[in-house]
């Protein structure tokens, strides 16, 4: 065989490893190995013919294996966090992250772990970050976790009650909060996810004057805009729009009389139709109303409301709504987890409830949580009590249910960074669900 010219020997913390330059090249230029073997660094080799690295050999072994095979196998005696830190040292953290999680599939989710919080009150919201971390809002505090579920400094907006949170990117979080009477605070702020610093505070101005306001539900468009429902002191009810880059307010959609926008529970930006879905729901308001806003024409292009609908014994009230652009419809859910659908193409909105009603009235848990909806990769998710149901296909058949007995009802959940996070109301536990990587080629 002769001596292979690209063979490389390492002495890591006293243990010898032998590999090839080809294997190391898999690490990419933006890693310790990439830099080390760049021609700029005309490295001198010790007399022993080895490169010495003063690090943990057990972890090196795992990471070297990752470079060789693209797979991550963590032995029981290597703590995961230690491995992450070592990967960060070598600049291989992206490789580890990629190897650890498979492509998100609602039907193949496995519980990857539970994280216990310390918050005193009920959870408000949980939001997954684009890179697999999350943030959790409790009362007036927001706790931030990176993808290793390492907790970062927590965030607050003048310790005001948080209404909604959202990730602009993996470094930036937006918080909306209530305004305290008589003081200029609350509103909306941009925070660093890594150190919790307040980076920017968004203003709402009316007729040239900056006003204090309560910000509610959030949504982001892919052309760098932030939408938030706003309630000001006097006339400033509606949807505010800000530019993500400049932070300046660029638009405001004032609500028309009798139609609540400032109190909206959910905003959803629809890229295909350039519209914003605004849903105001029971029990924040007595009646539910859903509308689509076109900001360019300052016009409500579609709307639905249950005002005047006959109240039946088997009362069905919309508790959450989500627009599904692929099928030009809106999916809604009631407190019995019945799904209903509305066609966006017909101007007269009427809910077509699916008949899959389960009589759950009798076994409502003591601390009911309102159902929530999410859509991801063509799969529809709906949370109810302590479980999350997954629906697939054109007729949205129930295909999976995620449940864990510990932690009580699920008050919110979020999907992002190939993970699903479910926030439980008791003890502020949140569960992380992942799709295991498939090794079958």
């Amino acid at each position: 065989m002769g001596t292979q010219r690209d063979r490389v020997r390492f002495n890591v913390g006293g243990k010898l490893f032998e590999t090839t330059a080809t294997t190391l090249a898999n690490a990419g230029r933006n890693s310790l190995f990439g830099a080390m073997f760049d021609e700029n660094w005309n490295l001198r080799v010790a007399e022993t013919g080895e490169y010495f690295i003063d690090r943990n050999p057990k972890c090196f072994s795992v990471l070297l294996d990752l470079l060789r095979t693209g797979e991550l196998h963590i032995p029981a005696n290597v703590p995961e966090k230690l491995l992450y830190r070592e990967a960060q040292y070598y600049g291989l953290i992206d490789h580890v992250q990629a190897a650890k999680r498979g492509e998100f599939d609602g039907n193949r989710l496995r519980l990857a772990g539970s994280t216990t919080g310390r918050a005193p009150g009920d959870g408000t919201a949980i939001r997954a970050s684009p890179d697999g971390g999350c943030c959790v809002a409790h009362g007036s505090m927001v706790h931030v976790y990176d993808w290793m579920l390492e907790e970062h400094p927590s965030i607050n907006l003048d310790y005001q009650r948080v209404n909604d949170i959202g990730w602009i990117d993996s470094e930036n979080i937006v918080i909306t909060a209530c305004e305290r009477l008589g003081r200029v605070d609350g509103g909306m702020g941009l925070f660093s996810s890594s150190n919790g610093d307040l980076r920017y505070k968004f203003d709402v101005s009316h007729e040239g004057q900056t006003k204090s306001f309560t910000a509610g539900a959030l949504s982001f468009s892919n052309d760098d805009k932030i939408f938030a429902s706003c309630k000001g002191r006097t006339h400033e009810y509606g949807i505010g729009v800000w530019d993500q880059i400049t932070g300046k307010q660029v638009d405001f959609f004032y609500e028309s009389p009798g139609w609540s926008l400032g109190d909206a529970d959910r905003l959803q930006w629809l890229n295909g139709t350039n519209c914003l879905l605004v849903a105001t729901l029971f029990p924040r308001k007595d009646n539910c109303s859903i509308s689509l806003l076109d900001f360019r024409e300052k016009r409500m292009v579609w709307s639905w409301s249950d005002i005047g609908a006959p109240v039946t014994v088997d009362e069905k009230r919309v508790r959450d709504a989500i627009a599904m652009e692929d099928t030009s419809s809106i999916c809604v859910v009631n407190e019995y987890e019945d799904l209903g659908f509305m066609d966006l193409r017909s101007s007269i909105g009427s809910v077509r409830w699916s008949s899959r009603s389960r009589l759950m009235k009798g076994k409502m848990s003591d601390e009911p949580c309102y159902p929530k909806l999410a859509l991801h990769g063509g799969q529809l998710f709906s949370s109810m009590n302590d479980s999350i149901s997954v629906f697939c296909g054109p007729d949205w058949v129930l295909t999976s249910r995620l449940r864990r007995s510990y932690g009580g009802s699920i008050c919110d959940f979020s999907i992002g960074g190939e993970r699903l996070f479910a926030l439980h109301s008791e003890e502020n536990v949140f569960d992380t669900w992942e799709t295991p990587i498939s090794l079958v080629a």
Partner: protein, 747 residues
């Protein structure tokens, strides 16, 4: 020294004590830093390494150690110190570098800067390698500028924009560009590197520190140069120079500038060299656009088109000048009294003119639709300046179809006809053309002079597609008559077997009244022999077709005569019916006076004179002799049978001296007939419009009538008014009793 330790931690949960105590093993920890000077020492080592890297001494460094040191500093919360240290060290080094670059003389300035820039780039990469951990973790979480970008920013602030370099760099670059513009060779590679450096520093730096001043300097340069050029060059040369400059700039950008600069610099050249001098260029005497068009300078014209196209109103400037030139020359052409003498040549000139400009538009103006439209509207304008254009075009066709197309391939025939149709399209008075065309076609058909039946029919089809069925139905009727006449004659001869001896053969063409241009038929006394056959035919025809009336159109016929002359030579004479009548008289007499002939034949005197002229005054065809010998026919003249007539040919065709072109009274007559024909058309249009509108005011009627009829002719408003009055008289319309300007339709 490392140690693992076990520690218990109590989770301070604010919730009720239901939470169990949680013991866990804390992972592998780095040794606690004891040395208070640890951070300083580590930084010193790193700073030293940075210096060594800049000094090209990196081979003595341990990458692993430096990397670990940087990592440790970040880990032990000295990231801030590491970062600010980096900024300080790099700034200091770059200030030093700036001094070196400043000190370099003349041409070495850019060389030195290029070298230092390459060094800095390489060092920056290596520094970033060492500080990779900081770059990946500390910098994003503190929102600081990443190492690579930081290095570029520091280079920008401390080198490029330092007091003594900033303007010097700019002037050097602009000087080099200027040198290149004045045909000196410069080091383009170096230029590219330096400008690439500015681009690497960010598009803003490139734009502020180079592009903007470059564009200003270029504008000045070209403003001066274009002024010089325009003073001493003719238009063609100027355009060549402008084109060359433009290409040079595009080439320059591709060699050493950002491709986004191309449109900007070309805009400058376009503005300075073309837009600012556009009008003067186009109107340059002896070399401007008009001259180019006159001389068919396709290359120059194409160049002008391509250059002017870049300017917002460039093409419209060309178009306007071209249009007024074409109109002017066209106007001269159609109003030149010399030209009017030869209608065929007149039309040929128009076609040549059209061909010339078509060729220019195709070859030089990119077959631009707007230009074609301008050309068409110009032709439409001047062709209609001459009221005789319809007649001339018809005459041209007549000429072509009589003889011009003999031996020409089918394709070429089509070609000529298409061109004629194109001219036809420009005509406003299409009905006048129709009138003349009908006359000329009748003559061709009756005299059997038409060269090609296919060509005739092809033109009819073209006219039909252009103007519709109505326009050509009568023309087609003429063709049908010709065909039926043939059949009729066959029938006649099979039924009446005529003794073949002396009796003349008769060929009759039965023409439907209305389809043919009827001329006031001047009948004449036919010779007795002929009269007999004619009578036989009349009775045959009326026998087969009841309820018809036949009247002889002797002015339109022809005859073939066999004649024997003095020395016994025999000839076949091909003559008109009138001429035949005259010649037949000489069967019984050798000498006849004008008066005698006139009496015997009763041919109208103008026709008779013409026919005698062609029999007696044309050399080589003078079967008659005249006394006195002169060119013109007088009422006192006497005619003799010319015994001595001789000809090389057996068949002798004796043409009538015809005025091809209409004479003045004839013209008036045609005109009048056209006007007469228009009346019912105008009336029909008025009635059609009023029937649908019921009530309309005068101006609107005029507008609508004009619109409806414009495919045939442009009706005169006065005529329309008269027709309306006539219709009111005949109670088709009435005036509104209140508003006199309104007309009502009476159903």
């Amino acid at each position: 020294m490392t140690c693992s330790r076990v520690c218990g931690s109590v989770c301070k949960s604010k919730m009720s004590g239901q939470k169990k105590r949680n013991f866990r093993i804390e992972a592998f920890k780095h040794r606690v830093v004891v040395d208070p000077k640890y951070a300083d020492k580590t930084w010193e080592a790193l700073e030293h390494a940075i210096q060594e890297i800049y000094n090209h001494n990196a081979s003595g460094l341990s990458f692993e150690e430096l990397y670990r040191n940087a990592y440790n500093m970040v880990l032990h919360k000295f990231g801030e110190k590491l970062y600010s240290g980096l900024v300080t060290t790099m700034t200091a080094h770059l200030k030093e570098t700036a001094k070196h670059i400043e000190a370099s003389q003349g041409d070495w300035f850019l060389e030195e800067m290029n070298r230092k820039w390459a060094d800095h780039n390489k060092a920056l990469q290596m520094i970033r390698d060492i500080l990779m951990y900081m770059d990946r973790t500390f910098i994003p979480s503190t929102n600081k500028t990443p190492v690579h970008e930081l290095g570029l920013n520091l280079w920008r602030d401390n080198v490029i924009r330092s007091l003594k370099i900033h303007t010097r760099l700019l002037t050097t670059l602009l000087e080099l560009v200027h040198k290149e513009r004045t045909a000196e060779v410069i080091d383009r590679g170096l230029m590219r590197n330096i400008i690439k450096m500015l681009m690497d520093l960010g598009s803003k730096v490139y734009q502020e520190d180079f592009e903007k001043p470059f564009l200003t300097a270029s504008a000045n340069f070209y403003s001066v140069e274009s002024q010089q050029f325009i003073e001493c060059c003719d238009c063609g040369d100027y355009l060549k120079k402008a084109e060359k400059r433009l290409n040079e700039e595009i080439d320059r950008v591709s060699h050493y500038m950002d491709s986004k600069s191309e449109s900007k610099i070309t805009n400058v050249v376009e503005k300075e060299m073309i837009a600012n001098h556009m009008t003067r260029l186009v109107h340059m005497e002896n070399s401007g656009l008009v001259k180019m068009i006159m001389d068919d300078k396709y290359d120059d014209l194409r160049r002008m088109y391509n250059l002017f196209r870049r300017i917002s109103n460039g093409l419209s400037t060309i178009r306007d000048v071209m249009t007024s030139h074409i109109r002017e020359t066209g106007k001269q052409l159609v109003t030149d009294p010399e030209r009017l003498k030869d209608p065929v040549d007149f039309v040929q000139q128009l076609l040549n003119e059209k061909d010339k400009h078509d060729k220019i538009i195709n070859l030089a103006f990119n077959t631009d639709k707007a230009f074609q439209n301008a050309l068409n509207s110009s032709f439409e304008y001047f062709i209609n300046l001459n009221p005789r254009s319809p007649e001339f075009i018809s005459l041209f066709v007549d000429d072509k179809l009589r003889k011009g197309l003999k031996g020409v391939s089918e394709e070429d025939v089509e070609n000529v006809l298409d061109k004629v149709m194109m001219l036809f399209r420009y005509l406003q008075e299409k009905d006048v053309f129709e009138k003349y065309y009908k006359q000329h076609l009748a003559k061709r058909l009756l005299s059997g002079k038409t060269v090609s039946d296919d060509a005739e029919r092809s033109l009819i089809v073209k006219l039909k597609t252009e103007c519709g069925y109505q326009f050509t139905s009568k023309l087609e009727g003429m063709f049908t008559d010709m065909k039926t006449s043939q059949d009729t004659m066959q029938g006649f001869y099979t039924n009446y077997v005529v003794d073949s001896g002396d009796c003349p053969m008769l060929a009759v063409q039965v023409l439907t009244t209305g389809s043919w241009p009827t001329q006031p038929s001047a009948t004449c006394n036919l010779p007795a022999e002929i009269r007999g056959v004619c009578e036989k035919f009349r009775s045959y025809y009326l026998g087969t077709h009841t309820g018809r009336r036949l009247s002889w159109q002797t002015n339109m016929g022809t005859a073939d005569l066999k004649a024997t002359f003095g020395r016994g030579q025999k000839h076949e004479l091909n003559v008109s019916t009138y001429q035949m009548c005259v010649l037949m008289l000489f069967n019984n007499a050798d000498r006849l006076s004008y008066k005698e002939i006139e009496q015997a034949t009763e041919i109208p005197s103008s026709e008779l004179k013409r026919c005698l002229q062609s029999l007696a005054c044309v050399k080589g065809k003078n079967v008659l002799r005249k006394e006195p010998m002169s060119k013109d026919i007088g009422e006192e003249d006497t005619f003799f049978f010319n015994d001595k007539f001789s000809s090389k040919f057996y068949k002798v065709k004796i043409g009538t001296v015809v005025a091809q072109k209409e004479s003045e009274p004839e013209k008036q007559e045609t005109r009048q007939r056209v006007e007469e024909d228009r009346k019912p058309q105008v009336e029909a249009a008025i009635v059609r419009i009023m029937k649908s509108r019921r009530v309309l005011d005068h101006n609107n009627i005029v507008a609508e009538v004009t619109k409806q009829l414009q495919s045939r002719f442009l009706p005169n408003p006065v005529v329309i008014k008269k027709r309306i009055e006539s219709l009111i008289e005949r109670e088709f319309l009435e005036r509104d009793k209140v508003d006199r300007k309104l007309y009502r339709y009476l159903a």
